[in-house]
């Protein structure tokens, strides 16, 4: 479903990715870990064309998106959703309008259907009653959850989660794990960027670790759990490597 081959990207003189290669099969969930600033968010942003790699290929559903122009990318973005690290909500719109935005843009729904869908989703996340609040007045964790809900509104085939559980309480973390699992059981492919190992263990099929511009190590969960000397195990336990 997703294939990244030899992905390279620099900002100015700083080379962040020196050739990243990995793939995610349909219905799988890949956990992407790595130190802060190693370029995990940049990879996710590139997967929906918000950022263009300097070289390398990004193949989604059989097509290379690095050659697409902005108009062609709009179609990709209906299939692939990106849940921003900080929510990236529209601050001039209420929570309701934020969530209704993708529905109004891409579906022909009646006002009542939009209302019902938004309410259902909000209730699902324990966010009911906040419909008419502006994002600026929500807590960081709430903004993040609303952002996540907004990304899912279009029933995408692929979801890219950028640290969805960072800064959330255990109860909401559990809810997000359940959500990811639920979507996965529906066949949604996903990439989860996270530092939260319990969540990664709960939802991921495999893990990849980004370090110094490359995928330093990868493997499926069973392999990783056995290998206590590997780079990923060291990263998780906080050792230097």
């Amino acid at each position: 479903m997703i294939e990244v081959i030899g992905f390279k990207k620099s900002f100015g003189t700083k080379q962040v990715h020196k050739g990243v290669t990995f793939d995610v099969k349909k219905g799988e969930c890949l956990g992407l870990i790595g130190g802060s600033g190693t370029g995990k968010s940049v990879i996710l942003r590139s997967l929906i064309g918000l950022e263009k790699p300097d070289s390398g290929k990004i193949i989604i559903d059989g097509v290379d998106i690095t050659k697409m122009n902005e108009r062609e990318l709009l179609e990709i973005r209906k299939k692939v959703a990106y849940a921003f690290q900080n929510g990236a909500l529209f601050d001039s719109m209420t929570v309701f309008e934020n969530l209704a935005y993708p529905l109004r843009e891409h579906f022909h729904l009646s006002e009542k259907e939009i209302k019902d869908r938004v309410h259902d989703q909000l209730a699902d996340f324990g966010l009911e009653g906040n419909e008419f609040v502006y994002p600026g007045n929500l807590s960081g964790g709430m903004q993040k959850r609303v952002g996540l809900v907004r990304a899912m509104m279009m029933n995408p085939q692929v979801i890219l989660y950028d640290e969805p559980t960072a800064g959330l309480d255990p109860f909401n973390t559990k809810k997000i794990q359940d959500l990811i699992l639920r979507l996965k059981s529906r066949g949604v492919t996903s990439i989860l960027v996270t530092h939260d190992m319990p969540t990664a263990n709960a939802v991921c099929d495999k893990m990849a670790m980004l370090s110094q511009g490359r995928i330093e190590a990868q493997g499926n969960m069973a392999q990783l759990n056995q290998d206590e000397r590997g780079a990923i195990a060291k990263f998780i336990s906080g050792e230097e490597f």
Binding site: R45, I48, G49, L50, E70, R71, L73, L74, E75, R77, K78, A81, Y82, F84, N86, A88, L89, F90, D91, Y101, P102, E105, H106, R150, A151, M154
Partner: protein, 262 residues
């Protein structure tokens, strides 16, 4: 040597980048205007923001400028017994230059700054990225409504400015220059021509783009942080004011040439 050369070079590069960037932005705006759906609701919201909310500013400045012009022309011409020409002079200058020009400059300050800072902060808070990530186009959602609103609003505001400016002139004519208001009014009507009006009116369509496009450009090119939003805002106002002032000269020439032809 380097103290001058380096900033100069930086300035040149920046100018070339700006001209190129503005060209590309205009191209995108044009292409996306003629294809796909149009967000009428967003355009009307912007018309309210850009137009209706600028109304007090434009009316007050135009009124004062008209009054000052009438006073200065009146006192200056009185010595030569030319007071009777005040209505004609004020009307012609206002319709051709002052109305469109001051309206545009005021709008560049008020609206240009607003657009640049709003878009700039949307970039910083990743809202522009979010628009793209949700399968929509920031050009269509953000830029086109603002460009369209300026194009619709500026000619109307300039026309209102003409009316209020001349009215200001009339008041001062009556109170300070002892000109009979009905004489003043008839004089405007008799001397001001449609050509005067159209030459000013025509410019406003260019000025509207000189305001909205640079503001959108500088806003969209903010990379990070609140400081850059401030810089972008300043640049938007400065650059559009310069474009208006320089453009005005060339447009005036062009309109004179057209007037000669027809």
């Amino acid at each position: 040597m380097n103290y001058f050369a380096i900033p100069l070079l930086a300035f040149l590069i920046e100018t070339v980048t700006f001209i190129g960037g503005l060209g590309i932005l205009s191209h995108h705006v044009f292409r996306e205007t003629i294809s796909g759906k149009t967000y009428w609701k967003l355009i009307s919201e912007q018309i309210y923001q850009v137009g209706y909310r600028s109304l007090p500013l434009i009316l007050i400045t135009s009124g004062s400028i008209g009054m000052v012009m009438s006073l200065q022309f009146g006192l200056g011409l009185e010595k030569f017994g030319g007071k009777l020409y005040v209505p004609k002079l004020v009307a012609a200058t206002f319709l051709r230059e002052m109305g469109p020009m001051f309206t545009s400059l005021m709008l560049a300050a008020r609206v240009g700054a607003g657009i640049a800072s709003e878009i700039g902060s949307m970039v910083v808070t990743q809202q522009i990225d979010a628009i793209r990530a949700l399968g929509t186009s920031p050009i269509k959602k953000i830029v086109i409504p603002r460009v369209a609103a300026c194009l619709i609003v500026l000619p109307i505001l300039a026309t209102l400015s003409n009316i209020v400016g001349n009215f200001g002139g009339l008041i001062v004519g009556a109170t300070e220059l002892d000109l009979d208001p009905s004489f003043y009014y008839l004089k405007i009507m008799a001397t001001a021509s449609l050509e005067d009006y159209l030459s000013g009116f025509g410019k406003t369509f260019f000025f509207a783009n000189f305001i909205s496009l640079p503001a959108c450009y500088f806003g969209l090119n903010v990379k990070n942080g609140a400081k850059e939003v401030g810089i972008a805002t300043t640049k938007a106002v400065v650059v559009s004011s310069i474009m208006i002032l320089i453009g005005d000269f060339f447009l005036s020439k062009v309109f004179w040439m057209i007037a000669k032809w027809v």
